[in-house]
Amino acid sequence: MQEKIVEFENISFSYGKNEVLDNINFYIEKGDFIGIIGPNGSAKSTLMKVMIGILKPDKGRVRLFNEDIKDFKDFTKVGYISQNVRDINPRFPATVEEIVESNLYSQLGFLKISNKNIKEKTYEVLRIVGMEEYKDTLIGKLSGGQKQRVFIARSLINNPEILFMDEPLVGIDIGSQKKLYSLMDKLNKDYNITLAMVSHDIGTIKNRANKIFILGNKKLYVHDSDKIKSEDLLKEIYNDDLKV
């Protein structure tokens, strides 16, 4: 059995009086590629934010790397690409390099200026995501898919063990989606990074992820992706007979 990276024990979460997660239990093991699916408003993003401690659950216990999240400090092990990155000001005057470097905050401290080591590290992570040619380009000049690659690189600079991605493929053309999926495969298989990704694209995520988490009616159901058909997943989510 692999090391458990995330563990939920009896987690419930509400926005005011509106409960959206009710007594959720699961774990994510090292090397997993988890696809999180569910209809709109099924608290997929909320689940992710509880996993990384941005939101605090009403009940239950979250463990990250076998440590209670309340005591967990080493967030360099955790990469998170939120939905908000899509709303970033397109005219923000920062280069790809400046953005990737900024995530070394905890290592850079207050005054330490970027040195040769950091430049090399930045180049290396940009090379992994295939964006090294764009290091001096303004972030606003990139396409949606390229931006996502930069944000993945920004997370990679801290050598994370797990990467959380909240709908990284929304608004991105099919060609770029394919490239992003192959990048995720590479990170998962070659770099042994555990992945958890929220997606609406059930057909594709089922083929890439090894486990599928389905959220609906405040509950979470876990499936091994090779043991369930896409049609059955759809039925379970939407209670519908749609064909994929």
Binding site: I54, P93, E98, N103, Y105, L111, L138
Partner: protein
């Protein structure tokens, strides 16, 4: 032509002006990128009430203006939480409070000196002004240097910055105080009504041509300094309020850069 800087009051104005030309656009860059460019307007109106309060009680007006401004920025932060869906509403509330209070305080008694705080003044700059601006100005610059990486990260993407260990709330509060200090010390040269223009116009120009964040910061400062120096010189020769000449110079630079950019396209 540079003879004008042999006058000691012009030397004082130039020193103060250059310090402000570095600070105001630096603080302004972060404000603009966080879509808070109007905050300068709101706070400066409260600073005006502070200056009037100082004149009324015979206290050094820059101190009272800074005190009022700090209360105002902290008030804005609180109100922004209260009206999270209407963030700009908090600025309008503070602006109204400031202008209301200022007009009452000005009408209360002998506040004839208030004019120089509205539009800035060259002749009335004292040695004390220089000392206060130099000390507080250095404090602001050093603080921004220390906070630079955190400020950059949270300005770009607050949620990820928090994850990366940036103390977002502390930096936000501290930065608000820096905004208040900047307005407080700039009012002597540029005047309350035009401070926010000096925080915004050089930044607006630099955003047209910057190819990185460091360039944006550098160009903002450069355009700020050019505006202040040319503005002070023309203020002296044409006997105009320095605040107006500085801001119009900054505007002229913005228009020139816009036109050059259009031609290039």
């Amino acid at each position: 032509m540079l003879d004008i800087f042999s006058y000691s009051f012009m030397q004082r104005s130039l020193i103060m002006g250059i310090i402000i030309a570095i600070i105001a656009p630096t603080i302004g860059l972060f404000l603009v990128l966080r879509r808070l460019s109007v905050i300068g307007d709101a706070i400066s109106h409260v600073a005006l009430a502070g200056a009037a309060f100082g004149l009324l009680l015979g206290i050094y007006p820059v101190y009272t203006a800074i005190g009022f401004s700090i209360i105002a920025v902290l008030g804005v932060e609180k109100l922004r939480k209260e009206y999270s869906e209407y963030a700009e509403l908090s600025l309008s509330i503070v602006l109204s409070a400031g202008i209301g209070l200022a007009s009452i305080l000005i009408s209360l008694g002998n506040t004839s000196g208030i004019f120089s705080y509205l539009f800035g003044s060259l002749a009335l700059v004292t040695k004390k002004d220089i000392w206060v601006v130099s000390i507080l100005g250095s404090f602001i610059i050093i603080s921004v240097l220390f906070l630079y990486k955190g400020l950059f990260y949270l300005t770009f993407d607050e949620e990820s910055a928090r994850m990366a260990g940036v103390p977002v709330r502390k930096i936000n509060t501290f930065f608000s105080i820096l905004v208040a200090l900047t307005i407080g010390i700039s009012m002597r040269t540029v005047g309350v009504l035009l401070i926010s223009s000096l925080m915004i116009l050089p930044v607006a120009t630099s955003l047209l041509i910057s190819k990185s964040f460091k360039q944006a910061l550098l160009y903002s400062n450069l355009f700020g300094i050019i505006s202040v120096v040319l503005g002070l010189i023309s203020s002296f020769y044409f006997d105009l309020a320095p605040g107006g000449t500085i801001v119009l110079t900054a505007l002229l630079i913005l228009i020139i850069v816009m036109v050059i950019n259009k031609i290039k396209d």
